[in-house]
């Protein structure tokens, strides 16, 4: 396994380009690359289509933006907007995630072992996102497809203006957002959760969760009065 040690020179100018190039070069010949000392760097491991990137320690904002097939493992905390606009692949954060984790994702898996800030999974269009601890306000705002699974508590306005997709919460929430409703878990939901928990070794049972879905798929101007 090759290691990219982000140098002091890289960090002085936050030279994303040089770090990205190093990662890409290593992934051309190796399956895995480890990156260290990048806690101030934004946008690392963006736009990758294959390979596995292990980031030692914490990292800045926009990690794995437009990820299109790579597996990213971050061993510390991440800044804002992790996995922004992900298409496919996996991102696993062993620490906490800041504001607006996994926005605009079309697909892929995001797992956050710690807590996450407000606006988790905003405008999710197909990714499956799991957070093991608490999430902030506005979880799943304007979500159009995909799944958000929260093992502990959420804040205000859960699923605000949800259009489609599913939100599963095991803990409590302060308030639900507009255009949401609670529905019993179907057999499909239970199968999906069981498979997901088994794949990612999550200790949880589907029946412990509440499912939140959209009340209508037309909450805006086209709403039938």
């Amino acid at each position: 396994m090759d290691v990219v040690a982000v140098s002091a020179t890289d960090l002085i100018g936050l030279k994303l380009k040089s770090v990205s190039q190093k990662i890409k070069n290593i992934l051309e010949e190796n399956e895995t690359v480890t990156v260290t000392n990048c806690d101030l760097l934004n946008g690392i491991a963006s736009g990758l289509m294959r390979g596995e990137v292990i980031i030692k320690g914490s990292v800045g904002n926009y990690v794995g933006m437009l990820n299109s097939g790579a597996k990213l493992i971050i061993e510390g905390n991440v800044g804002k907007y992790i996995g922004d606009n992900m298409i496919k692949g996996e991102i696993i954060v062993k620490g906490n995630a800041d504001y607006c984790a996994a926005p605009y994702c079309y697909g892929g898996i995001v797992i956050i072992k710690g807590t996450c800030g407000d606006f988790l999974g905003t405008m999710n269009k197909g990714a499956s996102i799991l957070v093991e601890k608490d999430a902030g306000n506005d979880l799943g705002t304007y979500m159009l497809a995909g799944n958000i699974i929260l093992l502990r508590n959420a804040g205000e306005r859960v699923g605000n203006y949800l259009i489609s997709g599913r939100i599963f919460i095991r803990g409590k929430w302060k308030s639900l957002g507009n255009n949401t409703k609670i529905e019993d878990l179907s057999s499909d939901d239970i199968y999906f959760l069981q498979k997901f928990f088994s794949t990612y070794k999550i200790e949880a049972k589907p029946e412990e969760f509440t499912k939140i879905i959209a009340d209508t798929d037309k909450p805006f101007y086209s709403k039938k009065s």
């Binding site: 437009l66 405008m123 304007y142």
Partner: protein, 513 residues
């Protein structure tokens, strides 16, 4: 219903043969056939003035005329205002419509072009001499700059808001004229990229081995990175000849995009990655960039992913152009598009279109000043959009300081639009702003693209005429000295000298000279 009941519908029964063509072609259900198979007007209030019935009537029997405005007799309570209130009272909804503002605001018509005589270099001969109208975007910053053959590009109009055939027409016309077609924020059609480079299909393009990767063949495809992020993936960015980061637009600055559910048919839903029939409302701001600093990082990452091979554009709505442009420069873009409030859209709350933003001619001088103050004038290219109708408007925008102009509404009209402003309804009878197959079939991309190319050619010729009669050999030499303002308002907001007075009005605007 842009203006309810604004048109009088008449059938001349001496000519009418009751063939039913009007019943068939009118998507607004104005006409019906009665039990005796005779054509009747059943809902003249629904007429939007598109005049498709007049186009198709074989006997010239249908007539659409504007209703009397009654402005003088009712003062503030015009016909339009009264009907607007009735609509809100009946439905509890605000009125939506297409197009830009219909208010009378300072516009390019308030400026005139100053020909060259004795006090300036003599005019040049349009028929026997050359005039440089080319524009290069990203000349010193990217590997594959955009080399526009003409200073006119197509503004961003999304698939979904526009039909597939309309988008294809724009792409073909961009190829023919060596200019930019823009995906808008709705993702890219598979057909757009090959067509803009002169190929019919992606397969044909790939087989040629020429156009992918760059440099470009023919026209250029700009893709839009927007707040809804519809249809954005790596291929979308890698195939682009330019990437435009959308902040706002002229018709509804600060509001994001509106694509009503009735226009989100299967293919639109697939390209955008959303459920069929749902309203696609882009947020007004980036959820994933809550400050200019974040946006700067985001742009840096886009450049990193694409190796900054192609220019990054940013599109601003009409707000505080001086300050907005200064921030845009700091974001590291290669060109700035600024869209005045006259700019059009497929759907917007009418009140926003009419009242939010500033005129296009008020956007350009402060933007130019910001670029000059930052030392980037003519390096970062300024593209003016919003109500550019012809080569005359385009020339005036260039003389105010823009490097190029963009057209959207004028392009739609060239495709056949009659400006009925009902684009949001999704039943455009000319097949432009609709996704209904039977209406789309009325628009032939081959013929329509030629009309678009003709418009661009004529506009470019007009720009050349005015450039040369002003004594210049290149559009890069144009300045506000080539214009005079006809009104105090236009002089005050542009810094152009008032005609006759021959100095800026008021003096404070001399800063912009």
């Amino acid at each position: 219903m842009p203006i309810l009941g604004a048109y009088c519908v008449n059938i001349d029964y001496e000519r009418c043969t009751h063939c039913g063509t009007c019943v068939e072609v009118c998507p607004y259900k104005v006409y019906e056939k009665d039990d005796e198979n005779r054509v009747r007007i059943v809902n003249d209030m629904a007429c939007v003035g598109c005049r498709i019935c007049m186009e198709f009537c074989p006997n010239n029997a249908t007539h659409i005329k504007p209703a009397e405005p009654e402005y003088f007799s009712r003062s503030l309570w015009t016909f339009q205002t009264v009907e607007h209130i009735h609509f809100q009272a009946q439905t509890g909804k605000y009125l939506l419509r297409g197009f830009g503002t219909s208010r009378i605001i300072p516009h390019f018509d308030d400026l005139v072009i100053i020909p060259s005589q004795l006090a300036s270099p003599p005019p040049l001969d349009k028929y026997r001499e050359d005039c440089d109208v080319s524009v290069i975007i990203g000349e010193e910053t990217v590997k594959y700059p955009i080399k526009l053959k003409i200073p006119i590009i197509f503004g961003a109009m999304s698939f979904g808001a526009l039909s597939k055939e309309a988008k294809m027409s724009l792409a073909i016309a961009a190829y023919k004229m060596g200019t930019i077609a823009n995906t808008g924020e709705g993702g890219a059609l598979n057909e757009e990229y090959p067509l803009v480079h002169g190929y019919n299909t992606l397969k044909e393009l790939e087989a040629s081995g020429k156009a992918n990767p760059h440099p470009c063949n023919g026209g250029y495809l700009a893709v839009q990175w927007s707040t809804g992020r519809w249809g954005v993936n790596l291929d979308f960015l890698h195939n682009a000849d330019a990437i435009e980061v959308k902040i706002g637009q002229g018709a509804k600055p600060g509001m994001g995009g509106h694509l009503l559910g009735k226009k989100v048919v299967e293919e639109v839903a697939r390209v955008r990655g959303i459920p069929i029939g749902t309203d696609a409302l882009s947020p007004p701001r980036y959820y994933d960039a809550i400050s200019p600093e974040d946006l700067k990082v985001q742009i840096e990452i886009i450049k990193d992913i694409t190796d900054h091979k192609v220019p990054i554009l940013i599109k601003l709505g009409p707000s505080r152009p001086y300050h907005d442009v200064k921030i845009a420069v700091e974001l590291g873009v290669d060109a700035i598009s600024i869209d005045g409030m006259v700019g059009g859209t497929g759907a917007s709350p009418e009140s926003v279109t009419q009242h939010a933003g500033i005129p296009t001619i008020a956007c350009i001088p402060p933007a130019v000043k910001a670029l000059k103050d930052m030392g980037f004038y003519r390096k970062i290219k300024l593209i003016a959009l919003g109500g550019i109708r012809n080569g005359v408007d385009a020339f005036k925008a260039l003389a105010l300081g823009a490097d190029a102009v963009g057209i959207g509404t004028a392009a739609e009209i060239a495709m056949g639009c009659r400006a009925c402003m009902a684009c949001h309804q999704g039943i455009c009878p000319y097949g432009i702003t609709t996704n209904k197959p039977e209406l789309r079939a009325r628009l032939d991309p081959k013929k329509t693209s030629q009309r678009l190319a003709n418009l661009l050619k004529a506009m470019t010729d007009e720009i050349k005429i005015f450039t040369m009669l002003s004594g210049h050999r290149s559009i890069k030499d144009l300045s506000k000295e080539d214009l005079r303002a006809l009104t105090i308002n236009a002089a005050a907001i542009t810094g152009v000298k008032l005609a006759g007075l021959d100095r800026p009005y008021p003096q404070i605007w001399e800063d912009y000279q």
